[in-house]
Amino acid sequence: MSEHVVPRRVYFLVFALLLLFTALTVAAAFKDLGPFNLVVALGIAAFKATLVVLYFMHVRYNPRLIGLAIALAMAWLMVLIVITFGDYVTRGWVPFPGK
């Protein structure tokens, strides 16, 4: 919690961007982009989440230790996803269409 007071117009700008990208993700969902539908949806969601974290949650103005804590959370999340997914993909417990 830094003492930095974020100007209100930054909040309004972030809010406008979040609305814009919500509209974009809905519009993109109705277009057939093949395998990229998921990529676009997740990309936009990640961008929106980053905006919220950096500005609404003040991480941009916080000590770098906070950013490190978040980066570590992401690293653990990747461990969880990559290892579990790798296990499911290679064991054939579920009839995967991709296999």
């Binding site: 919220v52 609404f56 804590a69």
Partner: protein, 247 residues
């Protein structure tokens, strides 16, 4: 801000050097909790990813049962509540007590609207027999069934297209989708309810004049929690409502 003056000294606990150090400790502590929350929801998202990858056709069909308008409106409502929460923190920082109370109440109102819309959606799902269980039945037209399964997927799976699109299979796999839908949105809604309780408590404390520009840590960390809940929805909305709309 140094702890030289009496007024500021009262604003931090004795184990901290100064108010700034206390603020950093509070923020790091809250983020440590949020890290555990990220991994908690991460497990749910992982389960969703594994089953969506396993049963893409059923997931695409099932996701079309959701009301995209209600989901979209709820997304906007929740983003707006994040804005009012951020403005509440701004009001606390600048010592605008009345504005702080106003923004807290506005955030509570928007959170209530979100839960209300969610309740309407749950009611629809109940009436449409989309609760997983014995009476689960997802309406799937024959045209959808025959035309919606990409043949390359069936061939890649080594399964005849007829078997893949068998109504019983689709119904079974759609129940997995709806189990995940209720687990994920239910956990999210539970977090919202807890958040609303915390906001109500903040509003009460604010009315008692507990927050000053030198001390408003509870406002800031409840704000962090509220924004986190918003982020979870930012991922839930496209994954649950928008997946498979294009097909």
């Amino acid at each position: 801000m140094r702890a030289d003056s009496g007024a500021v000294a009262a604003a931090h606990a004795h184990q901290f050097e100064d108010a700034a150090q206390q603020r950093d400790a509070v923020t790091l502590g809250m983020w440590t909790f949020l890290v555990t929350e990220i991994l908690f929801f991460g497990g749910l998202f992982l389960a969703y990813a594994i089953y969506r990858w396993s049963f893409p056709s059923a997931f695409a069909l099932a996701s079309r049962q959701l009301d995209i308008t209600l989901g979209g409106v709820n997304t906007v409502v929740l983003i707006a509540s994040s804005l009012t929460m951020a403005l509440a923190v701004h009001a606390a920082q600048t010592g605008a007590g009345r504005a702080l109370l106003g923004f807290l109440l506005l955030t509570i109102l928007l959170g209530g609207v979100f839960l209300g819309i969610k309740a309407v959606e749950y009611r629809h799902k109940f009436e449409e027999h989309l609760i997983p269980g014995a009476s689960f039945h997802m309406p799937v037209s024959e045209a959808t069934l025959s035309g919606d399964i990409p043949p390359d997927q069936a061939i890649a799976a080594g399964v005849p297209a007829t078997a893949l699109s068998a109504p019983a299979e689709i119904q079974r796999h759609a129940q997995i989708y709806f189990s995940l839908y209720f687990a994920m949105t239910g956990m999210h809604a539970l977090h919202m309810v807890i958040g609303l309780g915390l906001l109500a408590w903040l509003a009460l404390q604010c009315r008692k004049g507990r927050f000053t520009p030198a001390y408003f840590a509870p406002v800031e960390i409840v704000g962090l929690y509220w924004h986190f809940v918003d982020i979870v929805w930012i991922f839930l909305f496209p994954l649950l409502y928008l997946v498979g709309r294009h097909a």
